[in-house]
């Protein structure tokens, strides 16, 4: 085989590939996006133990130990402050000791302590906190101490009710269902433009705004119906069904706006699929934070689907009510309206 011919073929294919604006842009954009995502994700694993502590008087021996140990402590000013820190998620757990701790220890009697826990603390962590407590006591007294601990769960007690993987994945599945519908609508729009059927529609009494309303309603309701069916069949509509339905409706409107945007940039089915997968990846990212808690931080809230995922997750798994997710719903509504408006403007320009 002539190597020059092979080289010419490769060069030709390379040119053809990059002469297609879609492939060129998606290739570069994808590369950049994946790199950005990589650097946005945590680069280190946090191996230190976080714990809150309330102690009226800190024994010097314990203070010395806390500096040495690989444990991050939050020193609360009061029991209430400790409880609030646990409730706010600043620390997953916290010990409150009685004000006469040192007296109790010196008398050699039983020492009491209260352990305040966040509901999502895994059982194995409780054992670690117990070990830490005995270490504290040993550091203070120089010998083992008989300690009685009372565990107090702050917020809903999820002990023994760990969230099943499928329930964790449900918001992700809902987002995927919505996104698949989004891809379908986007490819329909692109095909209408490509085949010229849109021109035929627009020389009838059908107005441009009528066209958008029709497509918007179709896209939103079709996506909403599918996502609702998914949640319904998986038993997710038991608690606060109206709340879930409202969240799904806003989510469906959001992906319809995204579909308008994809439909305006996609020229054919292939390019729609390309852009669609990119959008799907972005919108699915908040679901990964549920699957792997601690994966990402506050920047994930910039992704509009976060508010849908978080709402569905909290309502289904933590029995959240309207008041708990009002802010989520408002943000989702704002994002949906913004994407819908942007999609209409961009698509209208393409139609004209």
């Amino acid at each position: 085989m002539n190597s020059q011919i092979v080289f010419a073929l490769i060069r030709k294919d390379f040119k053809l590939y990059f002469s297609n604006r879609f492939f060129a842009v998606v290739t570069l954009l994808g590369l950049v996006a994946y790199i950005i995502i990589y650097f946005l994700l945590p680069a280190t694993v946090n191996e230190s133990l976080e714990l809150g502590l309330y102690m009226a008087e800190m024994p010097p021996a314990l203070e010395e130990m806390l500096v040495d140990e690989d444990v991050w402590f939050y020193r609360a000013e009061s029991v209430d402050a400790l409880k609030q820190a646990v409730l706010d998620g600043d620390v997953p757990a916290g010990y409150a000791f009685p004000d006469d701790l040192l007296t109790q220890m010196q008398s050699g009697g039983k020492v009491t302590a209260q352990l305040y826990l966040s509901p999502d603390v895994p059982p194995e962590f409780k054992e670690i906190y117990e070990v830490v407590l005995y270490e504290f006591a040993f550091a203070i007294r120089g010998q083992s101490v008989d300690i009685e601990t009372t565990e107090i769960m702050l917020g809903p007690d999820m002990a023994g009710e760990q969230i099943a993987p499928r329930d964790r994945m449900l918001p992700m599945l809902a987002v995927f269902v919505l996104m698949i519908e989004c891809l379908g609508l986007a490819s329909l729009i692109a095909a209408e433009v490509e085949a010229g059927t849109l021109r035929a529609l627009l020389v009838t009494p059908l107005t441009m705004s009528g066209l958008f309303v029709g497509k918007g309603i179709f896209g939103t309701l079709f996506a909403f119906a599918q996502a609702t069916l998914l949640i319904l069949l998986t038993g997710g509509l038991v608690h606060e069904p109206l709340l879930i339905l409202v969240a799904l409706l806003f989510g469906a409107a959001l992906v319809t706006g995204v579909a308008f945007l994809i439909g305006s940039v996609g020229r054919d089915l292939m390019s729609v699929m390309g852009w669609g997968v990119l959008a799907m990846l972005l919108l699915a990212m908040p679901t990964f934070t549920i699957l792997v808690p601690g994966l990402a931080s506050n920047w994930i809230k910039l992704i509009p689907s976060y508010y849908l995922v978080d709402t569905v997750y909290r309502v289904i798994n933590f029995d959240a009510a309207w008041g708990d997710v009002t802010q989520n719903l408002l943000m989702l509504l704002v994002y949906a309206a913004a994407f819908m408006a942007l999609g209409v403007v961009v698509l209208k320009r393409k139609f004209q």
């Binding site: 085949a195 010229g196 059927t197 021109r199 035929a200 529609l201 627009l202 020389v203 009838t204 009494p205 059908l206 107005t207």
Partner: protein, 287 residues
């Protein structure tokens, strides 16, 4: 005097620096078929787009049935039917579904899709998906779609382009039927014979300008020449062609001389075609 169905006044459109339609003026009477003839890129489709409200003119205005197209496009579009140059049907839907969709967009009540399909020679194929139709069948369905709202004005952009003779003939028949119903037809075509047969008047458009507009007969009178073409046999037995221009003072004597002096084998009268006239006016052909 009845108002024209279509009026174009200084209608102008440009794509960037390219002047596609250059201040054209014409009108089309009710029930008239106007042929709009010109080569590719002459401005025919752009003119149709402005007349049907798909494009806003850069200058001038178009009036259909007394309504300003730019101001009342949707009102105008309820009264017209547009057959596009390229097939733009929903291929994965059946013929009937395509027609019913557009009938519902026009708000046509009691729409009889089967009857319309029969008119265009597609009876029995209405339930088939359009993707399985031949080019001629698709084009006939396009014309049928144009008729769903019984339009007062029909815009037909190259409706017989590339069709087999039978399909083309069906469409020509429909155009004449629509005219008989009272519809006005704006027809663009490359086919000069078709224009000659169907149109009361023809307009020649070249480089965005109307260079001639009249009846085919008047254009032939003005720009063409009629002649007799005879085949004669000479003394050696070979065939020669003789041409005699008609409508001249010496024509009778030339005809007499031909028959007296030559052995005439065949003789035909000929007149200029619209294509000849187009070439004569513009200096270039239609294709």
């Amino acid at each position: 005097m009845t108002q024209p169905a279509i009026t174009a006044e200084n209608l102008t459109y440009s794509y960037g620096q390219l002047l596609a339609v250059d201040h054209i003026n014409f009108d089309v009477g009710e029930g008239e078929i106007l042929g709009f003839l010109g080569p590719n890129g002459a401005g025919k489709s752009t003119t149709i787009k402005m007349l049907t409200g798909q494009l806003l003119p850069k200058e001038g205005r178009a009036t259909l049935l007394g309504m300003d197209v730019a101001r009342q496009p949707k009102k105008v579009q309820t009264q017209i039917g547009v057959c596009f140059e390229f097939t733009n049907l929903y291929e994965t839907m059946s013929g009937i579904e395509n027609l019913k969709l557009f009938a519902s967009l026009f708000g046509v009540i009691d729409f009889d899709a089967e009857a319309l399909l029969k008119r265009v020679g597609l009876d029995g194929r209405g339930k088939d998906k359009v993707e399985g139709y031949s080019k001629g069948m698709k084009q006939r369905l396009m014309v049928a779609r144009t008729l769903v709202n019984r339009p007062k004005i029909l815009f037909l952009d190259e409706p017989t382009e590339g069709l087999d003779p039978a399909s083309a003939q069906t469409i020509r028949g429909l155009i004449l039927e629509e005219q008989a119903r009272g519809a006005t037809v704006f027809l663009t075509t490359h086919d000069m014979h078709e224009a000659d047969k169907l149109c009361q008047r023809v307009a020649f458009i070249d480089q965005g300008r109307i260079v001639a507009l009249d009846t085919p007969h008047a254009l032939k009178q003005q720009y063409g020449k009629r002649m007799l073409r005879a085949e004669v046999q000479d003394a050696e037995g070979s065939l020669q062609t003789r041409e005699i221009i008609l409508d001249r003072e010496q024509t009778p004597s030339e005809v007499e001389a031909l028959f007296k002096g030559e052995q005439v084998i065949t003789i035909h009268s000929e007149e200029a075609t619209l294509e000849d006239i187009f070439i004569r006016i513009t200096g270039r052909g239609l294709s």
